[in-house]
């Protein structure tokens, strides 16, 4: 199933933002799926972070509120703590990332997902998240800022 995407090209880089997802400002995407939500790292965030060396997600049943660490990544450039965008408990983690963290780089909105969370306060969480248009604007601002540094 293909998702409708917003696309932003800055210099030689193109960043994709699915229209149906929500995001926090750290670049964690949220895909609501009934009473749960799937989480992952945005295309912009994975490109900015670099090639993944390791990805570790907190165990199933870990309780989260927005801002809590739910995963961490180590790339060739940086170590990053990933803050949860939602409230709830981790219901499932992507075991494939243990052997193939590069899935986050290769397919950030698909096979590179990080965790599924059982939602407990979605309406309140959603109100604090960015929709695709707002996240696109943030990516544009941050990407252009990065280019000025080069």
């Amino acid at each position: 199933m293909s998702e409708e995407m917003l696309e932003l090209t800055v210099d030689k880089f193109t960043f994709r933002v699915p229209k149906s997802l929500y995001f926090n400002d750290a670049g964690i995407w949220v895909r609501p799926e009934g009473s749960v939500a799937r989480l992952g790292l945005s295309d912009f965030a994975q490109q900015r972070s670099g090639d993944m060396a390791f990805a570790e997600v907190k165990p199933v049943e870990t309780l989260l509120k927005p801002g809590d660490e739910f995963a961490s990544i180590e790339t060739i450039k940086v170590n990053v703590i990933l803050p949860s965008p939602v409230t709830g408990a981790i219901a499932e983690i992507n075991r494939a990332l243990e052997d193939a963290p590069e899935l986050i780089n290769q397919d950030p909105y698909g096979k590179g997902w990080l965790a599924v969370v059982e939602l407990t306060d979605w309406e309140a969480d959603k109100a604090k998240l960015l929709d695709a248009d707002a996240y696109y604007a943030l990516v544009k601002e941050q990407a252009e800022e990065e280019m000025k540094k080069k």
């Binding site: 090639d51 060396a53 390791f54 060739i76 590069e102 780089n105």
Partner: protein, 135 residues
């Protein structure tokens, strides 16, 4: 048998590229000097005739510093056979305690990672040449 060609990443400004090159030097100069030949990637990119002749038809081990895999691509484009393509990131995944840092001069972890990489390459060279040595 002709020597095994080793072609490492030539990228600059990245620790993983430096690890690729340092590891290649260890193989070609210390571990398997008699059975390997180091070819600079930059010469292949420039189309240097001698470098292309050395690679053409040879069995090669490439060592890439990032997913662009320039070394692997250039050996293939130069007519060589990539017998094994190693990525520094994969070697690091097998040695997580050896986090590389530094560019012109690698930190201790980077130097040890280069040594671990070199030993993996030396083992592959031995398999290719049919020789058994203690690494």
């Amino acid at each position: 048998m002709s020597k095994v060609v080793i072609v490492p990443c030539s990228g600059i400004g990245k620790s993983y590229g430096t690890v690729a090159r340092e590891g290649a030097y260890v193989v070609a100069e210390d571990l398997r000097p008699d059975t390997t030949q180091l070819i600079p990637l930059s010469l292949l990119v420039l189309g240097d005739e001698q470098a292309r002749a050395d690679v053409s038809g040879a069995q090669a081990i490439t060592i890439d510093g990032c997913k662009l895999a320039c070394a692997t691509k250039m050996v293939a484009e130069s007519g060589g056979t990539v017998a094994h393509d190693l990525a520094v990131l994969d070697v690091y995944r097998r040695h997580r305690n050896l986090k590389p840092a530094g560019i012109a001069e690698l930190n201790e972890g980077g130097q040890q990672l280069a040594q671990a990489l070199a030993e993996e390459v030396a083992t592959l060279v031995d398999e290719m040449t049919g020789e058994v040595k203690n690494a």
